[in-house]
Symmetry: C2
Subunit: 379 residues, 2 copies
Amino acid sequence: MAITLKDVAREAGVNVSTASRALNNSFGIHVDTRKRVLEVAERLKYRTNQVARGLVTGQSHSIGLVISDIRNPFFAEVARGAEDAAFHAGRDLVLCNSDLNAEKQMRYLDWLLAKRIDGIVINSVAPLSPAQQDQLWSAGVPIVLLNLSLAHRRSPLWRFSAAIADNLAGGEIAGNYLIDLGHAHVLHVTGPRTHGNFADRTIGFLNAFQRRGLPRPRVVYGEHTFGAAYQVAMQHLEADRNMTAIFAGNDVIAFGCMRAMMEKGVRIPEDVSIVGFDNLEMSQISSPPLTTIDQPKYETGKAAVEMLLSMMAKDGPHEPEHRIIGVRLIERESCRRIAGTAVQDRRSAKHLARDGSSHSLSAANKSVRDKPRKHSVKE
Amino acid sequence: MAITLKDVAREAGVNVSTASRALNNSFGIHVDTRKRVLEVAERLKYRTNQVARGLVTGQSHSIGLVISDIRNPFFAEVARGAEDAAFHAGRDLVLCNSDLNAEKQMRYLDWLLAKRIDGIVINSVAPLSPAQQDQLWSAGVPIVLLNLSLAHRRSPLWRFSAAIADNLAGGEIAGNYLIDLGHAHVLHVTGPRTHGNFADRTIGFLNAFQRRGLPRPRVVYGEHTFGAAYQVAMQHLEADRNMTAIFAGNDVIAFGCMRAMMEKGVRIPEDVSIVGFDNLEMSQISSPPLTTIDQPKYETGKAAVEMLLSMMAKDGPHEPEHRIIGVRLIERESCRRIAGTAVQDRRSAKHLARDGSSHSLSAANKSVRDKPRKHSVKE
DNA sequence: ATGAAAGCGCTAACAA
DNA sequence: TTGTTAGCGCTTTCAT
């Protein structure tokens, strides 16, 4: 049905191997022959069968992306970065939504391995049992994680490579920012304890208070969803009248809290300040626009795939690589200074780096006034 | 390196074909033999090489999803629906972000065809030249579009199958809703003229006014982005003081307008009402929550893949199928009734169907009071 | 520089 | 029920 290499070869009056060389190799073939083959291929609209090629080369030229849910705008950004990098390298991206469900995740992984996928970028293998993790590890496929705690380096997950934001630093930046604004009674609403990225944000945040000799803020763990955060906030807004600020584990949690505050008639930032984490696109259109920690999501996806590609390049076992991606504070309008607080020049505060580049992959952190993004949502 | 079928066969003391049958077919094989083969396969951790299988069966067991940009929350929902349906049918989803760029789109399509993809769901082939469209059409791969004008049935695009929301009805519902609330001076801010889905919304919207004998609202075409909509709104908020409502071509456009209104000190809905289209998740957390036309995005993606599957089932040329997916109005808090307007029971208005089911694939339209969604964003 | 031939791992006739 | 055989379409030695 479709045109095969044999057809092209016959039409061009050469052997299939010659035709193959003409189409692929640049040397070992006469320039005229190659030209002729190319012409015939063009005329016949020949298209290499990548499946057949894959069978012999052992490469599928595709990369798997296993995430919780693409509807999470965080992952959508990551996915775009990953896909761009993959496309650039002549590979395609297979999208898998695991819902962080261990069984489903294993089914995806099995399937990807059966397809002889070249590499896998995966949100988290934490839901898998140690045995499953071992199995995955020993499959011999390059793997890069998107979720890993920097604070728990003894974890068996550390044998995997990872591309992650500097959550530890981000949490600390948020903490210092609120402290500098004069907030002492801060509530930290975050996701599950076991989630590496969230855990690090919390640790960094608490460190900031500890280092300044301030009392430990109250931390509430829960589901990292809009609804769950809404519930938590509703509850604590009643109970804790002294609270002047909230640090949310991510922007979605922040939105849930904001919704609760709106309903309770609590004004932002007049009554309570709030800081998020992620810098989702919608954080600039919430009201008020949300002050948050930006993590380069697109860059993370891109970096993960690039790491995969370099792992694929050199075979044999490789040292795990952990790429820590810098975060920065984006000041918008959801925080205010508490009256009677000594004003201090934030530019000189030591937790703010003076790095200038915008999306470097270093762990440099900086505070920037929000400027409009070039990218915007299209349909 | 990896375990092959041959290894399993040898170990089980049978021929590869027998092993193959044991693993695949359910009949024509002795129950003991099959059990033995299965055991050996299990013990050796054998995993079928789908590439090799694909070469002989001619099926890649993957489906291509070519959309503008996964970061658009609309497409993220569609993608999730598509992926779920594909996974359910034992296929995987290859994600391609085309940015609606013709050249890029063709490169993706070529690549997918080279991978002998089983079928393609594509946002729009409109950017392609007629020659490119023909080429794609004659490739013989099942294709389902996500963008097609119901109002232009003579278009060559109509030979393709499509899964689309009832944009025509949606536009009309929005129009009638605003008319019923007493709005006569309405601005319609929408996307590019050539975009089938937007075009239909506009046509439906204008129809509503025409049928009621009302003057034609002003329509502004532009980019369907937050930024572009913001600009348009800034401009028209100054120029057109009589305007009492805006109908936005989609929610993102609505958000852009709302941002402009906020900056101009125009209150929503006290001064100006606004209706969106899409019912993105964030439309419930904007302030005020946005009244909008809901289109079942997840269902659309799911339907598109299911159509693909049924096309794949029967070979030979198939009649194009156009699945029109019902829309409905979600009333939230961004619209108000204009004083002095005759109050009329909206439930009895003829543009509101009395259908009860929630996400039917029929073209039934209905109005519902927003109830909290179960799904929420997770990271 | 080109051709002949082997084979990637699997399925699917066709025999037995 | 099982084995034999012939490919699927391509790359890649090894000869020539």
